[in-house]
């Protein structure tokens, strides 16, 4: 095994050959609101507990939640920036993750079907998620935060390429 001189950044392999495209920055808001809703529910429960029992541990809990919210905001911004995808001749590359960094290489030929989803929050910011499914459950090719025209373009391109090179199993 003789690895040639290779790029060194964990999220930027083959910088000269791959044209990475970022996802929309609005995804940050989607992520933030999603977390805020969850934390608001938890905070309300904890606050209620504090009001009723008056135990100081609940106060600590609230403080922790506040810290977590701030920390999560920072992480969300950076993690959305870490998302990226690239369409190569034969495969789709998807990279994401901050703490655990992941890169998936999914050949178009292996595509079983494509999902385009948009939840209520995503629709509010007019975003959509495209997910490519292969026969392997472990394959992980999800691209969130796409503008609807881009999502539609990606979907059509993937299905067209998939039909071209379909090989099933």
């Amino acid at each position: 095994m003789t690895p040639r001189e290779a790029p060194t950044d964990a999220l930027e392999p083959w910088p000269d050959t791959v044209d990475w495209r970022p996802v929309s920055r609005d995804l940050i808001w989607v992520e933030l609101i999603r977390v805020w809703i969850a934390t608001a529910v938890v905070a309300a429960a904890v606050g209620f507990g504090w009001a009723v029992s008056g135990h100081w541990l609940f106060g600590v809990g609230l403080a922790l939640i506040a810290v977590f919210t701030v920390w999560d905001a920072i992480v969300s911004v950076r993690s959305v920036r870490s998302w990226g995808y690239a369409e190569r001749d034969h495969d789709l590359l998807v990279r994401h993750g901050l703490l655990i960094r992941r890169l998936s290489i999914v050949p178009y030929a292996r595509m079983q079907f494509v999902d385009v989803t948009a939840g209520p929050l995503e629709r509010m910011f007019s975003l959509a998620t495209v997910q490519l499914h292969t026969a392997a459950a472990a394959s992980d090719a999800k691209v969130p935060g796409l503008r609807p025209p881009e999502a539609a373009r990606l979907r059509d391109r993937l299905t067209a390429l998939g039909e071209d090179r379909a090989e099933g199993l």
Binding site: V106, A109, A136
Partner: protein, 471 residues
């Protein structure tokens, strides 16, 4: 079977004894559900009445469902109709057929019946169990389905296949029952059993306050511990591997015999395990990955995925040569041949002891990865079956500039190159993607690539043209 009627074949019913057999199968479940405690509470007489009542209900339900179930082959689909209130028709496209299994539980063996199970891609669980049909029917239907499944492009409508042609098979290997028994005695569960029994006996001897229920429950718990080895012995009894026209044929079973047929081009990967306790015997165990099962449940899944329950290295090579592409210019595939390359030295922070064990090997046709200090495991995946490639880097790995590369398959197992140097990981990922693409391209060009060696073409039967592996 009425092969003259091509367009719409009449629906066939399952065998009339089906409800009774299903009831027999339910008996065990009913007793287990009622449990020992109920037996203690209500006494034997009422217990028997309860069991009988439930059983009767089960049989009546069985009769109703039997009367409404039918199946037939339409074109290249198997259609199964069932249900009284909620009618359901399942059409199973045969080009997606991964394996066919003929299962005969004990009761079915006594009555000459069998259950036909089909594995189809996309179905999380075993699709379409046809239980029960007569044995000749099951065999004939299996051959017919496999023939239809293999004949991908050419849509010649169901030709009248000669029903009573004995399938020509070349035996590859038979596992001796003695080896099987020894191998299952050499499992942790079986080895610790004497201690467990001794503990209970001592307890019982010193305080004689144990009731019948406590004793029975303890016995049940013990049986539960032993379940896995015992189950393996029962399932893998008389295990035989043969190569038939339609693919690999695996047989085995003591109480419930199973005969599974897997087209060779459907094999997604092979897992090899060297358990710690077997190491002195130099034994190993092999598992077969086929798309369709292996995703649903772990060790206890009902899927019959054993390729070799126990065997030594030469045997495993002989078997492997049947299911995996053999390196060009070689006659067999030896597990020791792989020149595994280990992760860099600094990965010892993650695996202080196992570092020399962990490794990955790329040959011309396959990628093999090895792992596990005590129970050594190897996953072998042909490039042509790689579905996607992933590179994953955790926070600690980033500190050490390491990353793990996965080659995913449809069978559920991924070959993983753990903790490689980052630049090597990128190289591996690119290389795996490239090689799997080339292997796929080659395979679509020459569908005969994986055909079993010559000497199989039986002149008496109509051998289906080599199945193009891709649809």
């Amino acid at each position: 079977m009425n092969p003259q009627v091509v367009a719409t074949e009449p629906k066939k019913r399952l065998h009339p004894l089906t409800p009774l057999l299903r009831g027999g199968r339910a008996l065990v479940v009913i007793i287990a559900a009622l449990s020992w405690q109920t037996l203690g509470q209500v006494g034997l007489g009422w217990f028997a009445v309860m069991v009988l009542a439930l059983l009767l209900g089960q049989v009546i339900l069985g009769i109703v469902s039997w009367a409404n179930t039918g199946y037939h082959v339409v074109g290249r689909e198997l259609r199964i109709h069932e249900g009284l209130l909620w009618r359901r028709t399942r059409a199973i496209p045969l080009e997606r057929l991964q394996s066919v299994e003929v299962v005969r539980p004990l009761l079915a063996q006594l009555t000459g019946l069998a259950e036909l199970r089909l594995e189809v891609v996309g179905g999380g669980k075993t699709e379409a169990p046809l239980a029960f049909v007569t044995m000749p029917d099951a065999v004939a239907l299996r051959e017919r389905l496999l023939t239809l499944a293999g004949r991908a492009g050419t849509a010649t409508p169901a030709t009248p296949d000669a029903p009573a042609v004995a399938p020509i098979e070349v035996p590859i290997h038979a596992v001796t029952n003695r080896d099987l028994l020894i191998s299952q005695l050499l499992t942790p569960q079986a080895l610790f059993m004497p201690f467990g029994v001794a503990f209970v006996v001592v307890q019982f001897a010193f305080e004689a306050t144990w009731s019948f229920i406590a004793l029975a429950s303890t016995a049940t718990a013990m049986a539960g511990v032993l379940l896995q080895p015992v189950r393996r012995v029962l399932v893998d009894w008389n295990f035989r591997i043969a190569r038939g026209e339609a693919g690999l044929r695996l047989r085995g079973g003591l109480l419930e015999t199973r005969s599974q047929t897997i087209p060779v081009e459907r094999v997604q990967g092979v897992g090899v395990t060297w358990p710690l306790l077997w190491r002195r015997k130099r034994w190993l165990r092999m598992r077969l990955d086929v798309a369709g099962f292996a995703t649903s449940g772990g060790e206890e899944s009902k899927a019959f995925d054993r390729l070799l329950p126990v065997g030594d290295a030469p045997t495993s090579e002989r078997v492997l040569a049947e299911v995996l592409p053999i390196p060009t210019g070689q006659h067999s595939l030896t597990l020791t041949d792989f020149r595994l390359s280990n992760p860099p030295k600094r990965a010892r922070w993650f695996h202080p002891l196992a570092l020399p064990v962990i490794g990955i090997a790329l040959t011309d046709e396959i990628v093999a990865s090895r792992d596990g200090l005590l129970t050594r495991q190897m996953v072998i995946v042909p490039y042509a079956r790689v579905q996607s490639v992933r590179v994953v880097q955790g926070p600690l790995q980033r500190r050490l500039r390491l990353a793990t590369v996965y080659a995913d398959t449809a069978g559920g197992q991924s070959a993983a190159a753990r903790d490689r140097d980052l630049s090597e990981a990128w190289w591996l990922a690119a290389e795996l993607a490239r090689r799997s693409r080339e292997a796929r391209a080659q395979q679509t060009q020459t569908p005969q690539a994986q055909q079993p060696p010559a000497g199989l073409g039986a002149p008496t039967t109509t051998v289906p043209p080599a199945p193009p592996p891709e649809t």
